[in-house]
């Protein structure tokens, strides 16, 4: 393999992964605090459907994923109070049906060859310069919004009714948050894949919890742990020729296990 080309795509992979980890830390912390892990999973599972629809309609893939995630988020939030089923049941139904719809729709796309494994489990070594632009552009947008809405988002996370009585636009904040989630899912798809996106959001955040005394500390630590997982996972992937997305998640899981043990020893 020619050295220069290999260096290039590894550099892009590192840049993409680290950029994603920086956003996934704070956003993932909110997902953990708001107990939305399963919700994020349902959105991520619909990402494949977004890709297929975008291909069918000749739209940009990232745009397709953001659109379908946002649509699903709206349907879920408006449907949930209306059906007499537990929240996790509704999310389970949506999560798996969205994936099934995506896979079925994909089979109609016989003119386009699509790297299915890449979309499901990530193909970080195939990150292009355009992907990097999406990750950094989308990531900057998400981070800027999070910073601007930090206090109101925290207030709504702690207690929605109290926040509403105190005059915060609870519905709009909730909607903004799921839109941010949709953008991150679209950006993360290339890196860890639709099936593993949630883990990059919640595992570093969960590992950071034990070492943080404020929300900001937890968000920053989660970003650092995510970056560490991305860098080490990528190195593993290149070194041992393992799939990149799962390798990153494996490292994140090991970090989490260490964090649990370490905290116990300190406490």
């Amino acid at each position: 393999m020619p050295g220069a080309a290999m260096d290039d795509f590894i550099v892009r992979a590192f840049l993409g992964g680290l950029g994603l980890a920086a956003v996934a830390g704070p956003l993932g912390s909110f997902i953990v605090w708001r107990r939305m892990a399963f919700f994020g999973d349902a959105l991520a599972h619909s990402a494949l459907l977004g890709v297929v629809l975008a291909l069918l309609l000749h739209l940009n893939l990232v745009f397709g994923v953001v659109a379908i995630c946002a649509a699903l988020a709206l349907v879920l939030t408006s449907l949930q109070p209306r059906v007499r089923l537990a929240g996790d049941t509704v999310l389970g139904i949506f999560s798996h049906s969205a994936l099934a719809f995506g896979l079925v729709a994909l089979s109609f796309l016989d003119t386009v060859r699509l790297d299915l494994m890449g979309f499901l489990f990530g193909d970080i070594l195939a990150v292009t310069a355009l992907d990097l632009l999406w990750i950094y552009g989308g990531g900057a947008l998400v981070l800027a919004t999070l910073v601007a809405l930090w206090r109101p988002l925290l207030a709504v996370t702690v207690d929605e009714e109290l926040a509403q009585v105190e005059g915060l636009p609870v519905e709009r904040l909730r909607l903004t948050f799921v839109l941010l989630l949709a953008v991150v899912i679209a950006a993360a798809m290339k890196i860890v894949g639709a099936l593993l996106i949630t883990s990059l959001l919640i595992v570093p955040a969960a590992a950071a919890r034990g070492f943080a005394r404020t929300p900001e500390q937890m968000a920053a630590l989660a970003a650092a742990f995510g970056g560490l997982a991305v860098a080490s996972g990528l190195w593993l992937s290149v070194q041992f020729d393992t799939p990149s997305g799962p390798s990153i998640v494996v490292v994140a899981a090991i970090l989490f296990a260490f964090s649990v043990v370490l905290r116990r020893r300190v406490a």
Binding site: V32, V158, D159, E161, Q164, R209, P215, Q217
Partner: protein
Amino acid sequence: MTVVDTALIRGRGLGKSFDGRPVLEGVDLAVAESEIVTVIGPNGAGKSMLLRILLGLVTPDRGTVTRRPSVRIGYMPQKLIVDPTLPLPVHRFLALGTPESPEALTATLDEVGARHVVDSPIQAVSGGEFQRVLLARALLRDPDLLVLDEPVQGVDVGGQEDLFRLICRIRDSHGCGVLMVSHDLHLVVAETDTVVCLNRHVCCTGRPEVVQGDPAYLALFGATAASAIAVYAHRHDHEHDDAGRVKPAHDHDHAGHDHAHHHHDHAGRRHG
């Protein structure tokens, strides 16, 4: 009544049903400036629902709520559990409602007697401290009206009386109206201006000493006094598991025993 002109908030003919089952019917209620109004009633009487309608959290099926223009409301919810995954010191919790200077935060915590927990994780404070922190958050909004849903829940009996006295002092020093829900008239009788006895509809209303002699009040609380005390003690035990220590801790069993003991004392005193 002069209440008509000065009401901070007023509900007229409020009604709400769930699945065709009425939870509230034709409820009228108003709070005047510097007035303490206490809503009492048995479990399931719709007390919390009434507050939630007045706060605008629930839309009533019938009736209207009017507020004096630009009235500021401080709200203390009945139950607030901060997720244990969220690292949040008390002073940060307070600043979520209104971004205030650290001095203002400590001054308000001082006023409610909870200054010592300013840097503690919110999940680690005791039930009584947590109620005071919630009260501080409501006060930081410089409210014209304080709305308190079961303000003394999860607080031991001695602490309950302290907390009611504190609420009364706050009314005097801030000049705000107070609307609160309580399960127990005996605890609030000294401080309350108006009692509203609620059991889906308003059974009786007036000064506490008048309400206590009202046949409707006696019918609601007199006949079931014995069982009401049993229910109260049991319910309270349970609340302590959750709210007394927001996050259940290792000294759980011990704390449970301790508090149960207090409650028997309390029940005894009420009879005697």
